[in-house]
């Protein structure tokens, strides 16, 4: 009987730690994708400024309240605008930004294929 008790307590503690680890992982992921507004070139995760410390605490609280990653991003977007996000959303202003690498890739691929075909034809 005692063995069962110990086993149950241990499994609860282990599960709890596992859940907590998941939360910390999400917290860090969100903090890494947020720009620290008062320290240029640093993410909230990397910064130790007062603003970043508060923001990290806010993320932790929001996760505990049951908010999803997307909900936290959109909450912060209403407060600070899109600038706070490192990963810009796909909209009219960022079409070019998102599509440019794809266009370059396609153009490069087309050039390579053309060259390859030409070489084959010559052979």
């Amino acid at each position: 009987m005692r063995f069962i008790h110990i086993f149950l307590i241990a499994s609860i503690i282990l599960n709890f730690n596992f859940l907590k680890a998941e939360d910390i992982k999400t917290e860090n992921k969100i903090a890494k994708n947020l720009r620290c507004l008062i320290c240029q070139g640093q993410s909230v995760y990397d910064s130790d400024s007062e603003f970043a410390i508060s923001l990290k605490l806010l993320i932790k609280n929001k996760i505990q309240e049951g908010m999803s990653e997307e909900q936290i991003y959109s909450f912060l977007k209403t407060k600070y605008g899109e600038w706070i996000l490192y990963d810009p959303v796909f909209n009219r202003n960022t079409y070019f930004l998102w599509l440019l690498p794809l266009l370059i890739f396609l153009a490069g691929g087309a050039i390579i294929i053309r060259k390859f075909n030409n070489k084959n034809n010559l052979n």
């Binding site: 008062i38 410390i53 508060s54 923001l55 605490l57 806010l58």
Partner: protein, 172 residues
């Protein structure tokens, strides 16, 4: 003919890309806060700095009075500069000053007010800085002019004499 088309397309492509990036160079790389002018005051429930009683925002911002919500801290040097202006504004009976004590300790905050005077009608303590994030604030000092439960003007950084004149003009 075909290779000419490809060359022209490539040149055009790189030219357009160059122009876009060149224009982008001139864009400021600093954070320009989004305007929360006209937005409703975010609600909060914080402890009073003096006696630790709970204060809710709905009880502070009432009627059609003007309020200046000022985020300050005893460790913030620019806050000292703007303090005399806040003391000046205190004399105006049309406006109430609400202090938002940001990440400060009680002892330092009270000795700051003892030295420089207390311009605030109510002071709430934002110990962990989370309530300030709800206001979209990102540093100290920062002030919000409030009328009829709406933010009508936001001042980032210390309030100067020009801002004081502007506030007085608005509340006249």
């Amino acid at each position: 003919m075909k290779s000419k088309v490809i060359t022209i397309t490539l040149i055009l492509f790189f030219l357009i890309t160059f122009v876009i990036f060149f224009k982008g160079l001139k864009n400021p790389n600093l954070y320009t806060p989004i305007s929360n002018q006209g937005k409703e005051v975010p609600s909060f429930e914080l402890k009073s700095l003096g006696d630790n009683t709970k204060i809710i925002s709905e009880k502070i911002f009432r009627g059609n009075k003007y309020y200046l919500m000022n985020i300050w801290a005893s460790w913030c040097i620019p806050c000292r500069d703007e303090h005399k202006i806040l003391m000046d504004l205190k004399k105006d009976k049309k406006i109430e000053l609400i202090g938002f004590n940001y990440k400060d300790n009680f002892k330092n905050a009270t000795s700051f007010l003892k030295d420089l005077g207390n311009p605030y009608n109510i002071i709430v303590s934002d110990k962990d800085g989370i309530a300030s994030i709800n206001w979209g604030a990102y540093g100290v000092p920062e002030s919000f002019l409030i009328h009829e439960n709406k933010i009508i003007k936001r001042f980032i950084g210390p309030i100067n004499n020009e801002d004081l004149l502007e506030i007085k003009k608005i509340i006249r």
